[in-house]
């Protein structure tokens, strides 16, 4: 026991004395949360619009007021005649231009959008249509017979905030990075520095070498998980609907999976650079692209969807979404928990088997 404590102590010293690693470990979650929460977002905000100079008639004035009051739109200019429309787009003054038919009898509205980025354009038009629609609904109190107006409700994320999607993703990504990359690097460093040679020529059991490496990163990962949740709730206003206990438990299972992945990498890699590349290319990229964090898994070709099944982050992110955002009971994530547990036990067995008692 004394041996184990002194081992863990040593690992903490390695981490705390390496200022760059420390900064990386504790700074990364904060930076990523802020980046994904504010900068890299799929929400469309600050839409520049140009409106006609004159809004004379009643529904048109209300539409105008609707745009002016909406925080997503900035009115950056007015359009006098049709030649100016091309001009404002070319100058980048507008993302969306609203054109009115001046005749009172035919209150048609034309929306012209810059569709260089089709997704943004679609979202902008959808926002604008909704404002116009709302303005009209006030005007027309009686709905004409036979017309069906859908009543839309956005469940779990009524404001359609992208942070709701990114927070679980960032959790999956950061825990993976810290656990897998850092454990593999710290074991491979011992090989590279020759200290592994001395550890092997001592009575220390390989299991306790591994365990003592895992403990510090387990603690740091847990701290990071708490930082992410705090930032998510208080900075990004993502609700924590579900139970914190279950969220922690599933995170710990996921951390275990990542730790064993790191261990597996360390048995293969001979240098720290190799360990970093393997964890970067083989873990980070799939976790980023195939986990459903950025692109929905359902949209992928069948092969990639199959590949995504072996990515732990996919199951973890799905489970966190259900637990944290939807507030479901643990029974609804039983499948994800089972898959992660299976992965953990498989990876742990393989890497413990592969951990060499001797030099290669």
């Amino acid at each position: 026991m004394k041996q184990f404590i002194s081992f863990v102590n040593k690992e903490f010293r390695h981490i705390f004395r390496d200022k760059r690693t420390m900064l990386l470990l504790l700074g990364m979650p904060v930076v990523q949360m802020i980046l994904f929460g504010f900068a890299i977002t799929t929400e469309v905000r600050n839409i520049n619009i140009c409106t006609p100079q004159t809004w004379n008639y009643d529904p048109q004035i209300r539409i105008m007021e609707g745009f002016a009051a909406n925080p997503y739109f900035n009115i950056t200019g007015t359009i006098g005649n049709s030649q100016e429309i091309d001009e404002v787009f070319r100058e980048g003054k507008a993302d969306l231009v609203i054109v009115l038919d001046a005749q009172r009898t035919n209150p048609a509205i034309q929306l012209i959008a810059d569709a260089t980025d089709p997704n943004t354009a679609i979202t902008e038009v959808a926002y604008a249509t909704r404002i116009i629609h709302e303005a009209q609904q006030v005007a027309v109190t009686a709905i004409p017979q036979g017309q069906i107006i859908p009543n839309v409700r956005m469940l779990y994320n009524p404001q359609m905030k992208s942070a709701y999607n990114f927070v679980p993703g960032v959790m999956g990504l950061i825990l993976m990075l810290i656990c897998a990359m850092m454990t593999s690097i710290s074991i491979v460093r011992e090989k590279e520095m020759g200290t592994m040679e001395l550890l092997l020529v001592s009575p220390v059991k390989p299991f306790s070498i591994i365990l003592s490496k895992a403990v510090p990163y387990f603690v740091i990962s847990t701290a990071n998980m708490l930082i992410i949740i705090l930032l998510a709730v208080y900075l990004l206003h993502v609700p924590l609907v579900g139970s914190m206990i279950w969220l922690s438990i599933i995170s710990w299972i996921y951390i275990l999976v990542c730790l064993s992945l790191g261990l597996l990498i360390s048995t293969v890699a001979q240098t720290q650079v190799a360990a970093m590349l393997i964890s970067g290319v083989m873990l980070m990229m799939p976790a980023l692209l195939l986990s459903g964090m950025i692109y929905p898994v359902e949209n992928m070709p069948a092969i990639l969807e199959g590949v995504s099944c072996i990515i732990p982050a996919r199951w973890y992110i799905a489970a966190v979404k259900k637990l944290m955002i939807q507030g479901l009971e643990i029974t609804y994530v039983a499948k994800e928990v089972a898959i992660l547990l299976l992965m953990a036990s498989f990876l742990l067995t393989v890497s413990l088997k592969k951990f060499s008692l001797r030099l290669q």
Binding site: S6, K10, H14, T195, E197, L200, S202, P203, L357, R358
Partner: protein
Amino acid sequence: MITVENLTKSYGEVEALKDISFHIDAGKIFGIIGPDGAGKTTLFRILTTLMMADSGQATVDGLDVVKDFARIRHCIGYMPGRFSLYQDLTVEENLHFYASVFNTSIKENYYLVQDIYKQIEPFKKRRAGDLSGGMKQKLALSCALIHRPKALMLDEPTTGVDPVSRKEFWSMLQRLKEQGITILVSTPYMDEATKCDHIALMQKGRLLSVDTPERIVAAYPDVLYAVTGDNNYRLLCKLKENKEVKMCYISGESLRVIFHKNNVPAIEGVEIRQVAPTIEDCFIQLMQ
């Protein structure tokens, strides 16, 4: 204490050890002398249970290095050729860590490392990576000793260390020997051979000779002459053409020459005198 029988190990095409056999008595200093690439490190790694030989057996303290590797790891101290302590831990933390790895404490075996550790104790708060070469070596030796091993295996401990520290190091080994610790040490420096009780001369994976340094020197079959002239290189070329010369090579300030049938020819302008062979001379002679 340590026995090695017919050890063979190769890395692919390269044969690192070819049929090596010797044994070491308890409480002796045994030196393995040989140039780089002789297979010294491979031999150490097999004896420290870090590697498995292709064939042959080896035991340490009666324990087989393959079957009983776990028990051997309790009772040997190992100092690899490269400095292998934690550079980002302080001197004291390193020693403390290695003590706890072997389930012991600094206090328990302080008497053993006292002589060595006292010299680096003023720097105990310094990180191991910031120590000088000689101090690193003393720390590594302290760490290898802190659990009071029965056998100490030192792989080229004096390589890259200044002459004064080297001398000091060998006197430390003598004191450890007096404590009853068996010491296996390798070195590429021939002059260190005489400090050992027994030596094994090693070259390209083969043992050339295993005996006490005195007996190896005494077994030198030829009469050796030192030849001194103005220009050693020109003299060497000249002597190599001479039919009377069996073997000649440069050693320090002069040439060493062996003549056929001990016929010493008169050569103008050079001084020829008979000298006692050293271990280096024996090594060169055995290499032929």
